[in-house]
Assembly symmetry: D2
Homo-oligomer: 307 residues x 4
């Protein structure tokens, strides 16, 4: 298949929609991003790489980081992790405290904020302190992205911390149920650091290969997680990766994927490739409007839906 | 792959769990079923058929019928259907009225009871009367199962009607929001008739082929729905097919599937085969305990997970 | 105190607000009422009666009937009644199924629709059939109102039945939890018959005397309920009599009261008098806008608040 | 009426129930209190004082402090206060975040924790800093209790702060909705300081006189709030003073009252007296079991219910 031609087609087709979305504006650092940007990248198992548009521009990966922290926590904790965080869709239109209260402080899955905060707490306990944890996470992401320059934005992290009262509410509520071991503010600060990691679609599509290939990097052969763990992360991405639009994404795109409020979306074609797309304007559900559209076109044109 | 040998292995491995589940007991007709039964069937695209255990015994398909009514409604209504029923997971541990009330009578998806009741209403309006609708549904199922003897149990339907007050509550609540067009009791009666259809795993695995093959029966070439519709039904099965254990099923089994409280589960391996399994004992989430286990073993042994 | 003068003052003061409310329009029979009407009546323990405006015009008492059915049910059932219906405020902005589902089909109090439907079921079981129950209720109301002409509107009852799908949903949900003994449609029909009773403020203020006087009619000495029961009905009126505006009514008016969607409100000054007011325009909480205002003026002018 | 004799009767009658309740154990400082203690006090408008049992023993007033902070905030802010906190019962069995989320960070009333935290924020803004606010509150309580020795326990306040993660969650959630102006931790610390104030029933019954007498201390003539404000505080006490057992308290006791988890309850007989009772064992709703019983006996014996 001529993937490069397909990417060019998609880049042309999405132009009319570039200003239809709404850039995240809850912190100044995100609000100032130009909405007319678009990048998309594919990476095959042999390392072949296809890109279009702003594929080398770094953006705030935000909730895509939840995929990486979930991977690390699963690697070190194994099935015990599921005592503290579930793997069911949340079915709530907002990042809600309601379900968390009814379900006694156990978040529905690792991809809603509450779940990712628990995962951060698990990693903080595992690594012992803030710096070692952050370094370990960055090291892991640099390895799977095959790019040593991956880092996070101190500005974005600080800005999130300044405005993130709802996330503090989530963390305190879970602490009251005994589901946070470390200091609440430290956990939340770490969580925001992860969200502020910056990557390009080129890096991100490369970094999806271990998930597309059942836990093993197909290029260098490094084994990060077991095949069973990789498949299960993909399953959780499919059912929970887009908050309350996860069903819609499965329905329209038909691939495991994870979005971030910075406008990025990563996706996996099992046994075939990693994909990443970026465009900052969001749809009503908080996922990249043009990114979702581009992925939908991609699976329509290639027939690569898992269904 | 030696599917027959794999089925025999599975049939041996599940024996210790045959009495761990709990048979549905909300109506007498279901409560009296012997829990020690187990059947499993696979049907390939060339018609090759593998079975083990009680694969020819008919049981009450219950919510598996929602898959067939959803198919028919989608066929006749197209995308307009989604104005009246969503395609997101419900995220509720029970068949709840809560979400239905907050979301103004629009059910989350076609596989929760409220959604299937709306689908029944859509079909009733389309076919004009009760008899024509029931005949059309049975005719469709007989065609995809390639078995003219498929029918429903009047006893089970009557028993459901006698006890189904919660479903009447759902239907009345949706009527109050204007999302039911026909008479509430007539809609509910029809819904119960569908649930009371009886089939064997042999019939059911055959009947999944059109979904595995993007809308076209691979044996006789009949086209039931478009490729896009078939893939999207599979996506909804994956995200919503097992109520509040849908994430868990995706996680452990990794196939689009739909369960019924009678102990049946159907599943689809896209482009490969249809699967059905039956064992009446249910787990805590109301899905067949042994059936789920058997499917999990099946994808582990064959590597046929879509992830 | 010159009560007649106070009523005249109030009647003057409310004129500017007569068109600010919104007449209930969920059934045609109520929607056609002229909003510019206003009547108010007081009845003292010696039978002295003061009225102003349309005090002899009969209107649909709607939820005020819940006060009378609650009284009868309490009289015959005693404290056992509280196993089936609570006495706590509901704290929900709408006539909700949410709380009913979480609380297993036990309504919060006798004044929300679900509670009144349970009360109707209790009375239906007690009296054995529909006619005897309706006659007993009318007889009781005729006695306390001292007016043999009290009756209900068949038109309004039929219209409610035709549109009352949410109440059927409530009744079916409670039936599914085992909290309705009789046939659901029969219970709902009876409930609507009570709501369709028609009375004037003159009749209603007279009918409050037994509650103001601890269960005994102060004029003819008939004892309807015990002093303890009467005080407790007053307490439930104060905390739950105005749905989700009960706190507001207690705050502004400071008297036990019960409103109906027809625009009527009854209130009790313990040991002093019965009060009734009517004006069809409703405020945002579904209580008579002018009626609430008139009662607030009344307690301000007279100092008769219980606080 | 021989109030002293009535208090002695009650003190005898409650003995069998002294060990039926359960002492609050969420912080060590409260868990260690001896449950067999009981004190009760009445103060009339002329200063006559009746007491029985441990009426001079100081205990942690906990949520009774919400009455005093509400009074001060209302005094300084007037009706504007109700833009930030409601006056409706919450109808929730727990100190819930659910309603707070649905209602956009506006607490239902000043007596649930969320409401009292907003009130603390209002006072903190009014007084400018922590110390001045705490001094003003203590000064107000010392005045109404006519006892300069009233103070708070640093131990209890520190212990609350160490365990109060749910209250921090509430405060952060409200901050995220813009309904907390000051620093979250500072507001919560102040809130816990108020809860840790220690008083005896003798002091507390004296301190209720301004509410029983429409805002004016009947002994020294000092006017704290307007008559209308005093009546309205009483109305809010009646409808919301006992969390989700407020209806039950109104039903059984029939007086405006406010309870605390330390086992104290204050109540008001309008135009007659102030009452306080204390016994540390709590009932299932978190209110003093023996205290509630004692008040119920008191209104039965004296007929002083407002209904």
């Amino acid at each position: 298949m001529d993937y490069q031609a397909i990417l060019h087609e998609i880049a042309d087709e999405i132009v009319p929609f570039l200003e239809s979305g709404r850039v995240a504006d809850y912190i100044p650092a995100l609000a100032s991003v130009d909405p007319r940007q678009f990048g998309m990248s594919l990476t095959l198992f042999d390392g072949t790489h296809y890109s279009v548009g702003d594929a080398d521009k770094r953006f705030s990966i935000q909730s895509i980081s939840k995929l990486f922290t979930f991977t690390l926590a699963l690697k070190f904790t194994g099935r015990d992790l599921y005592r503290r965080v579930g793997r069911e869709p949340s079915g709530n239109p907002f990042n809600s405290l309601v379900q968390l209260e009814y379900e006694q402080g156990i978040p529905r899955n690792p991809f809603i904020n509450a779940g990712a905060i628990v995962i951060t707490d698990v990693l903080l306990s595992h690594y012992g302190d803030h710096d070692r944890m952050l370094n370990a996470l960055l090291e892991f992401i640099r390895a799977i992205a095959d790019d040593m320059s991956v880092d996070y934005s101190r500005t974005v992290a600080a800005s999130e911390m300044e405005h993130g009262f709802r996330n503090r509410a989530l963390a305190n509520l879970m602490k009251s149920f005994g589901n946070i071991d470390n200091d609440v503010l430290e956990v939340v600060q770490n969580y925001f650091n992860h969200c502020a990691i910056e990557m390009s679609t080129a890096m991100l599509s490369r970094s999806m290969l271990y998930l597309a290939n059942h836990g093993v990097d197909p290029i260098n052969g490094r084994e990060y997680i077991t095949p069973s763990q990789a498949k299960r992360i993909n399953a959780v991405m499919l059912t929970c990766g887009h908050y309350d639009a996860s069903g819609d994404f499965a329905f329209h795109v038909g691939l495991p994927g994870k979005s971030g409020v910075g406008g990025g979306i990563v996706a996996v074609v099992p046994k075939v490739m990693g994909i990443a797309v970026w465009s900052p304007g969001l749809n009503a559900q908080g996922n990249s409007l043009v990114g979702t559209l581009a992925l939908e076109r991609f699976t329509s044109k290639t027939g690569l839906s898992i269904f």
